[in-house]
Symmetry: C2
Subunit: 316 residues, 2 copies
């Protein structure tokens, strides 16, 4: 059984520093928070994306961290694109050392948007998706269209999700939109990226790092369950356009391990590359029946003062 002993995070922003500088800040904050020092760590698991995005030309991040720590403990890398942080935590739990550091760091803003889009698209199927220009806003626009058509959700629901997340970011000094007011009108009148998704339905790219120290020492934050699932590559391979089976399977594994049901959950931080991803995730995580995700944003359940706040730190 492991517990969260400390956490650390940089501001997620446009600041242009070396990846290692971001990582260092997050690591030191997490260590300070944990009351441990570098010598207490038994292993490190890192999830950064392949560093094609930035000009640092430093591929072997494992050894790079060993140099930084001046420690020769086991350090492994588990890149998994958007799921990297979760995969690193899941893997660390199974490595089962006493004190471990989990680190996520990325720097997406150094390269021009065209290059970032091109590189991220490499996470889509090469033959049927990349060659058809099925970039992720386009893929998720199709999901949104299907959800609207089948279940009666609409663009206003997505706008409410964007508004909620920006309102949460407004309060979070680590978020890029900290202290920046975004109105519902601004969201609804923002440029269309891939219909029905507008600019504010799509996450921004930022630079930043987050770290977490987990330990077998008991603290008041127990890690009750953790699940990992992998799904097929291409959008067209999904069983259902508006269900991510990997989310369902990973959540089911975590619920089972924790002996909890979706209704027991008080707060959730979930991937929201696009507003529609958050909406579909409400359903795949079991917070709403399939086709009813939009009710949770309409009735305020997932807002900061609701029964089940989602993405309290901002997101998008």
């Amino acid at each position: 059984m492991h517990y969260i002993k400390g956490v650390g995070m940089t501001k997620f922003d446009i600041e242009n520093r070396n990846s290692m500088d971001f990582a260092e800040d997050a690591i030191m904050l997490a260590l300070d928070d944990s009351g441990l020092n570098i010598d207490d760590l038994d292993a490190v698991v890192v999830a950064n994306s392949d560093n094609a995005f930035n000009p640092e030309r430093q591929r072997h991040f494992n050894s790079f961290l060993s140099s930084f720590f001046r420690r020769r403990m086991p350090i492994i890398r588990t890149p998994a694109v958007c799921g990297g942080g979760g995969v690193a935590l899941w893997t660390a739990l199974r490595l089962n050392y006493n004190n471990m550091l989990i680190l996520g760091t990325d720097r997406l803003l150094t390269a021009p948007s065209e290059l970032v889009t091109d590189q991220i698209l490499e996470a889509a199927d090469r033959i049927y998706e990349q060659s058809e220009g099925m970039i992720f806003p386009a893929q998720n626009a199709l999901v949104a269209q299907q959800h609207f058509m089948r279940y009666g959700s609409n663009s206003d629901d997505l706008a409410l999700i964007a508004l909620k997340n920006h309102e949460n970011a407004f309060l979070n000094p680590k978020a890029m939109f900290y202290g920046k007011k975004v109105s519902l009108e601004k969201i609804k009148s923002s440029p269309v990226v891939a219909s029905p998704l507008r600019l504010f339905d799509c996450s921004i790219t930022v630079n930043g790092a987050a770290a977490c120290v987990i330990s077998k020492d008991k603290t008041n934050i127990k890690i009750s369950g953790s699940g990992l699932a992998v799904d097929y590559m291409a959008t067209f391979e999904r069983d259902d356009m508006v269900t991510w089976t990997a989310i369902k399977n990973a959540a089911d594994a975590a619920y089972k391990q924790a002996n909890l049901k979706p209704k027991d959950i008080d707060l959730a931080e979930i991937h929201d590359a696009f507003t529609i991803v958050e909406l579909v995730s409400y359903e795949d995580l079991g917070f709403a029946e399939k086709g009813h995700g939009q009710e949770l944003i309409r009735d305020g359940t997932v807002k900061l003062d609701g029964k089940l706040p989602v993405n309290t730190s901002g997101g998008l």
Copy 2:
């Protein structure tokens, strides 16, 4: 406790196919050898390098494999440059599922040599090594020079290691040098790459894949021990120019777990990017005292018919 249940390997060669084709061949051979089929697998750990080398534009290999298997089991990636295969095995053992597949696949020959050299150099320190042109043949040439100076080894010892490995490759249908005679004269008169290293002291780049099925089912190949260690990034950070602390530490952990001593080892397959790496590894693995590695190749100990054959499959 895990056992090796099956292994599979493609020919390592200049054949230019998709990474997935290589992976598929190795996977199917390993599964056939194990008597298991895809549905019996509980998890997969993959070590491929970041695919900057090839034009496949397929970054998210985890999902790619999920599509291939038509299975949604946990699949994680643990890239670690030259140590990737070992890291994947070490990690899989700790994930502790019943039946797991470990896969290594890479395709280095698609890109021009200049690009491969440039990309591999990203595994060296960015500020002090990359900018000084300290490519790996140059780094290892310095190690060879130090070993020669301090311990009386010489270029002839390295040539004997190259000859041994090519003689072993001559017998191995999976090796690029299968059936290709390489004489000692040819090795000794090959072009100097970085003095004292000649062409035959340096490994070639190839395309290929290898896979292994491990299982809790008892077979006659028990995995008795496995160690992982990470060392600092840069050559100049080493405690000793001619010792790889990571090799010593990983080997010590594996020996301890297996309750074996170096003298108990009957056969070794070790990383030999350069002949001098193999020579230094004899020492770091405890097969010879520091400074005496060359004696093992001089007296034939590490040859195929010696007391401790090393890199029987070819290497280099």
